[in-house]
Symmetry: C2
Subunit: 214 residues, 2 copies
Amino acid sequence: MPSRPTTKIKQPAQKRSAKDKLLDAAVHVVRQKGYAGTSVDDLCKAAGVTKGAFFHHFESKEDLAVAAAQYWNDFTSAFFRSAPYHAHKDPLDRVLGYIDFRRQIIQGSLQDYTCLLGTMVQEAYETSPRIRQACETVISSHAAVIANDLAAAKKLHVPDATWDPQELALFTQVVMQGGFVMAKAKHGPELAESSILHLRRYIEFLFGRNPTTQ
Amino acid sequence: MPSRPTTKIKQPAQKRSAKDKLLDAAVHVVRQKGYAGTSVDDLCKAAGVTKGAFFHHFESKEDLAVAAAQYWNDFTSAFFRSAPYHAHKDPLDRVLGYIDFRRQIIQGSLQDYTCLLGTMVQEAYETSPRIRQACETVISSHAAVIANDLAAAKKLHVPDATWDPQELALFTQVVMQGGFVMAKAKHGPELAESSILHLRRYIEFLFGRNPTTQ
DNA sequence: GACGACATACCGACCAGTTGGTATGTTCGG
DNA sequence: CCGAACATACCAACTGGTCGGTATGTCGTC
């Protein structure tokens, strides 16, 4: 939970601004009802602000979506950065730790653990280039972090393997996003969890580990 | 492309009904603009029919979505049933053939190769139980076909393995759906294709094959 | 008293769905 | 074989409500 990146310092002990409340509302409501299915009025109501406040801070609904993608990036970046798996010295353990962590945080209701970016880009990829671009950028930058550890792990353990660390990092995101879609279809997280376990086993295979077939 | 299941025979050389034209339009337009982002007027315009025709055949927009899921099932079932990979005698070859086939048919524009069900369920899982249910049913029945071959292949090649064929079949769909989401984010099919290759390699691993790391 | 941060009230466009109608069968008694 | 009764398939115009967005007012702070 990053405090808002205020350019101007100040606001001592001030309550959350309408802007932050709207971004929070977007993160939750859009994941529940979809982007097009969420009206500006819905967001204002969820945030407890008026429409005037909305258009004071955002030029348009699309503008909010782009800002929400950035907001999502700030939040999740800080969240993953603070996760315990970073303590591992072996980069492969960090990668596997990340995957285990992703599996563990699948809890609560669907609108809480699914990905805002996957939801938005699925709807807006063709109708809003700005939203598509924002989602791609955030997803790719998240994947790049994993790609770093994967590249280091590859260099350390299987330097001669032919697979590409960046591509494999993106594949992990494919499995996550697909897990979310299927979790929505099944209305439960079980399939997403088992899919992440399959992903884990695959990566262990790629590193020559013989996975414990629990 | 199943001809419409007319209860009454007749209609010799009759042109496509408004109903079929609307279902076709739904399959294409919804994949492009999303479910909530597609208006009834959009569909009527794309189908070249009037709104009266729409509500003559469908009780509501939601009703059309449910029918479109079934229509999608009829179409894709026939499509995959006619695919060449069924000729293989070894069920594992059929599974790998299916995966290769899925990779090959990723062509053209995104709205042509992505999955209608994944698009709809992502938006409607919370707001429309009927649509969610329809999508789940169709996806699961498709996965069940793959699960059959996977179960046979497991029995034949690795009877003592601990993984579950049905779960693995669903995992293949997770990768497909995730590939589509990421393809939309990247605005191109490359990542979906490479992800399907990763999936292929994983399954080869599970069957003890040493995949050619092409 | 100026300005940023909101609130209130409102607009035209568009939305899903309805209505009342027509054109074209289909059925079946006589 | 005919024609009244009914059914199906569709159309054009319309309705009430919701949409994204705007114009203007108010209030607290520097």
